[in-house]
Amino acid sequence: MTTLITGGAKCGKSRLAEKLLDNCGGRKLYIATMQPYGEEALAAIERHRKIRAGKGFETIEKYTGLHEIRLPEKCHILLECMANLCANEMFRNEDICDPTERIMPGIRHLQKYAETLIIVTNNVGSDGVTYSPETNGYIEAMGRLNTLTAGISDNVIECVYGVPVILKGRSCY
């Protein structure tokens, strides 16, 4: 079963995602896509580590190329988060590439092994600001990625200040 969790910044998405895996038996893998560069990224990573501590997750740091991860059968995966993954794939080389071409096969690869797959993404398109062409391209790519991922997910939940709003599927929390 695949569940996509979207929402704005700091709205409780991770907390909800981890809660969904609370009662899972078997191996729980946390795929971290944020690159540990800069003070604030390190602080965010540390904060998430603390929240996760004692919940039995094995952490896999993978910034690009999800399809390359070797996975055990019937595991439970939390992928966090799509916004970092998208930027990492898109701006990996000098030439900006379409991140969906690498990420979508990556997600299908995770789905093949995971009994439960929770994907945390981000809504980045609601601030009404026009940015540089690169950033606008990123917002567009995130929109497409989220739409495509929602299409192959059983559940889609939007988190609003910690309140889960079901957009697709049945209540699963």
């Binding site: 929402g7 409780g12 200040y161």
Partner: protein, 126 residues
């Protein structure tokens, strides 16, 4: 407590005035009223702007939010965009998100207003 959220200019305040029979004088504006007035105000609007002012005054917005005694808090959703370049804007966005989670957790009811239409996303219909 009841929390009302949604994007900017979606009709949140009009919804509150109609639904809960309030007038403008019952509503303290988080953007410009004294922060000390907020704690016991009947209704606060623009609470996200109050968070911004707390940060400027070195007041902990999370502790402040946990101590609010209001009936109704109106607060914009501001997190749905690109990470701001300015550090203070990033901090505001982060603290607003966390303060909003505290409010939503404390609230018996949370409404989200979009295009003037309010949807209850937490709580039981009366």
């Amino acid at each position: 407590m009841i929390m009302i959220t949604g994007g900017a200019f979606q009709g949140k305040r009009d919804f509150v005035k109609k639904q809960f029979a309030l007038s403008d004088s019952d509503i303290a504006d988080g953007g410009n009223c004294e922060l000390s007035e907020l704690t016991n105000a009947r209704c606060i609007c623009n609470y996200e702007l109050a968070v911004k002012r707390m940060l400027a005054d070195y007041i902990d917005p999370l502790g402040f939010t946990a101590g609010l005694n209001c009936e109704i808090v109106i607060m914009n959703e501001i997190g749905g965009g690109i990470i701001p370049i300015e550090k203070s804007e990033r901090e505001w966005r982060e603290m607003t998100g966390r303060a909003g989670c505290i409010l939503a957790d404390r609230a018996e009811k949370v409404y989200r207003v979009c295009c003037g239409i309010a949807t209850m996303i937490k709580g039981e219909q009366a």
